[in-house]
Amino acid sequence: MDKSIFAAMPTLTPTLGFASMIGLGLFSLVLSYGVKTLLVRNTHDFIIADRRVGFGFGVGSVIAVWTWAMAVMMSSAMTYKWGLSGLFWFVVPNGFAVIAMIPFARVLRKNMPEGYTISEFIQYRFNKSKVATAIVTLTMIFGIILEILINLKGTSVVVSTVFGIDWKTATVVGIICVMAYSYFGGLWTSVMTGTLNTLMVTVPAAIVVAAVYDKIPGGTQAVYDAVGRAGAQNLSVLRPDAAAGFGITLAFGLLAATVSDQTFWQKVWAIKSRDVGRTFLWAGALFYPIPICLGMLGLVGIATGLTPSDIGGDIAAVGPYIVSHVGLPLTLVILYVLVILAACYSTIDGASSALSSIVAVDIVKRYFPSTAEGRLFAITKLSVLLGGIIATVIVLSGIDFTTLVLTTYALKTSILLPLVLAILWPKTNTVGFVGGVIAAIGIGMPIYETAGELPGTLSIVAIGGLTVVICGLIGSERFDVTKLRRVSDEIASPSVGAAE
């Protein structure tokens, strides 16, 4: 078996690519307009769906926002690079990161039932400390911009790889498609289109992967044997270099990516309180098969001896390359493209919705509390577009957004333990929280730069946590979490008849 089984498909024209992107966007736009008409009257409905998201939509939408372009393409890429160990370290912490939200989600939903954002929690937890809330708000915003950016990049990578569309054009068309439907309906739109997109990343993904193996001469046996011949370690999940190379760092990063992400906290307060716990359990458990399924494409890359230069230099393109070059019927190739587009669109949409909640609650209502509902609603809706515009400008500029990635990573990882302790440990105080974040970045990031990812990540997490614990043990404060029940609904539904 070798890469001679691959050949470009001349029928994959740019027109088909545009049709896929725009078609998915139009379908979502129709659904979104219906949602707006039936379920959204005001800012409260727009940013928190009136706290009526049920179990089914909760599970579907949490999976949707967590199934990034990364889960879809990087699962194949990590398998291609490290064999089954790569898939193991990519997948196992991924689902766990969603499940790990449960204890924190239950504490806050029970004790702060009228909340909207994690920054709002920090505001009341630390006696309206401007520094603490600014740190968390900034981290959330950076995280959201990065989410949009990465998935926008994912959209342009797959569309340009498969259809030969210029990546800049693909970026602009992609963001317009998502923003057009995100603008209407807010969180309800995000939840429903996201849930439908979860159907796309499961059933079509399974069919396409099965079709790829059906197409390869010798099928799974031939691939399995060739992967083993390429290196016995490819079939083992116990490669220590995979763990040290990216696995452990990724595990902490993923945990930070959920616990320190407003996209998930928005869901915590939007899902019906009786369903919060089991939603995150089911979502985490049901997420697992998606990257496991798509990761199997990485084994094909190993078996056929594909090199990064064969696939354009970026190993993230291994899945799209295999599907578009192995000789599948056009329908299945388009289906795979829709799988990736669905993953990207739903994450961008979810992140944009989360951004609107931050703008409404943490910026407008916090600094301009007398803003009337009509104006607040208009600003909130427009803010959905903001993240997309910023991310698009960054992507189109061509600048290396490694700095943004590192900054966001530093912020999210550094607030991970302080945030966890703020939720769970009554003795966490403001000095410890702020000091922990600053110390984690100030000391941990230089270690990250000089000693490498693994020692750096462990240092950031440890320094952040230790600082909080030491300050908490020294201090005498003890926070009563039930006080949060007095936090009123800052964006309560206005009375019937209030103007939009």
């Binding site: 997948v91 799974t220 716990g277 697992y288």
Partner: protein, 96 residues
């Protein structure tokens, strides 16, 4: 195997869409009724099920290294995800 996955996929998709339709209907009816949602957060021990799902994911991946047939575990389980989400809509208790 491809044919089996295709057929099972259509079944899982049908269950998903049936559930989605039910969920959409419930969401609209609840919204129109405007009945206040309860705020209780039930006590429930999730640790066991959480551990089982994390370990199961690791085991499935490891099993791929022991036999080529396990390569199809991923696609089959992905269909279970679709069916699981559809089931979630039928399991939920609407506030009507």
């Amino acid at each position: 195997m491809y044919s089996l996955i295709l057929i099972l996929g259509l079944c899982a998709g049908a269950l998903f869409l049936a559930g989605f339709a039910k969920g959409l209907r419930n969401a609209i009816l609840e919204y129109r009724q405007g009945k206040p949602e309860p705020t209780d957060v039930p006590d429930y021990n999730y640790a066991g099920m959480a551990a089982i799902s994390v370990i199961a994911s690791a085991v499935v991946i490891a099993l791929v290294g022991f036999g080529p047939g396990w390569i199809y575990a991923g696609p089959l389980l992905a269909l279970c995800t679709a069916a699981g989400i559809g089931t979630a809509f039928f399991v939920e208790r609407p506030s009507l």
